[in-house]
């Protein structure tokens, strides 16, 4: 199933399938290493729509809630396709 970074559970791993931001936001997100085809691991999130933390290869990135909502990830979950 495809969900945004925000929807991922901590510890869940998935593959980036789409970034639905404006051109500039998309470039910034990609420049940070979050791009289509990459495997990323959600590490955690902060309350009140706070930043989401993800692990890409061997580095960690904090990404704001609104930006994280724009990044879509394909994850495998039991019972879902």
């Amino acid at each position: 199933m495809i969900i945004s970074i925000v929807g991922m559970k901590p510890g869940e791993v998935g593959t980036v399938t789409d970034i639905q931001g404006g051109q500039e936001v998309t470039r910034r997100i990609q420049g940070m290493g979050i791009r289509i085809g990459k495997k990323i691991e959600k590490q955690g999130s902060h309350f009140w729509r706070g930043p989401q933390r993800v692990l890409i290869d061997s580095f960690k990135v904090a990404i704001g809630f609104g930006m994280a909502e724009k990044v879509f990830i394909k994850v495998e979950r039991n019972g879902n396709k």
Partner: protein
Amino acid sequence: MEINKILLIGNPNVGKSAIFSRLTGAKVVISNYPGTTVEFMQGYIKINDTRPAIIDIPGTYTLDPTSKAEEVAVRMLKDGDLAINIIDATNLERNLYLTLELLEKDIPVIVVLNMWDETKHKGIEIDAGKLEKALGVPVIPTCGLTGEGIKDLVKHLPKAKAKKIKCLTDEERWRHIGRIIEDVQKLHHRHHTFLERLEDISIKPATGIPFAVAVIFCAFWVIRFVAENLITYVAEPFFEKLWTPIAMKASALLGSGGFLHDVIIGKLVDGKIDYTQSFGVFTTGLFVPFAMVLPYIISFYLVLGILEDFGYLPRFAVLADNFMHRLGLHGYAIIPMILGLGCNVPGALAMRLLEGRREKFIAATLMAVAVPCIAQIAMIVGLVGQRGGGYVALVFSTLGIVLIVKGVILNKVLKGKSPEILMEIPPYRIPQLQGVIKKLWMRISSFLKEAVPYVLLGILFVNILYALNVIDFFSKIFSPILRNVWGLPEGAIAALIIGFLRKDVAIGMLGPLNMTTKQLVIGSTVLAIYFPCIATFAVLVRELGIKDMLKSAAIMLSVAIIVGGLLNLILRF
């Protein structure tokens, strides 16, 4: 080809400044968080018979700039003869994007694989030879902190040639990088280290917030402990035992009174020098910077340096993100504020890393109003502290409330909304003693060179203004505000005037006014709020533009009038 200008370019926090410092021997601030360098730094290196300039460029992820710091990087690229592209070897894939963009330009490139030593701990294996073949330019592994590989780099400098590969689209670049990575890099599984576990603990909200509280508490405790001991056991004995006898002799030589005596030694209190009351250039003028402020500068920057090098600040920024959004900022903005606690000038410079005009305006106005520099803090602790620690806490909590209330209001009033955080969180690294000491010394010496002369000048200025009756003149004009709104004596106007020059001297000037505790609390708070010192003002004019700065200044003055007035109404002691 003759090389005149060598550029150091790379992603943020890959160690450009460390390499710069190794190549040129120049002293620059190095920390473990993205965005330590916001202005380009220039130094020189000797290659055979030439002495080309080396320029350390603020970090950038791509060549399409998103902040002013990155814009600087791209502009600098146009007139370089050689680019040293510094790569964090533990983040090869992401770093290579900038490398490819560089290779497309008509400039010779040398790639430096920095933090080479860390790849081993992280289970990353890179074949540097293969990478060199894949990129077609020299690739040199280094470790900036220890200096490993630097000689090799210098040897390769004259041989670099421009590659100028054809321009690729975004997608093509990433595909190309993917192929390179597959070929040159292997990742091995390994167990989590203690530092990595600490990384998790200090960033998860449930454990990270208590951890942050503990860090702040410890930081304050250490800063105070070190500074107070330096004052009690080093600075004060020095002045009392060694300096006072000399100054008293000078005082007698000058006839114990008169204009010249008052400028140099100041007014004697009961026939003696009182370092907080006399206000002579060679008494209070030396005592304030060396015995009251310097101990706090040393202890503050020691603690800050360790936190910076350890890599704690970005985590604090992530934890603070939510809170900072209420003030119209995002978490990263807390880093300039923390730097501002040392001195507002570097704080104001670091604001370049904030994306938009709105954010910069809010951050600058908040810092100038509610973030006192360590020199000011030291003076408040020294002076207000004599009346009781609770009063010091009162001044700082008032500033804290002002920061929050003003941030919330600005966020509501100003159009637009706060941008979101997008920041790499670097790994923790054990600070190296040598690095910490070197950075501490740089910051102390810049205080000695850039601040102490202004303190002396400030005190000289005060004496001249008094002698020319200028202060009396202003006292009369401003006494309605001072007396009726803030409940301060007329003489406090002198402190407000000098506050434009140096805030520490200004707070010190409240000392001889025989104020009540309430007046002292109000006076210190108003002095912190009403205007930045001239050095910060100059930087803010440059960073914000004169128009925004004037708006910001108007806000500062109104906040000072309101807050001082409220304190005068509310406080009952």
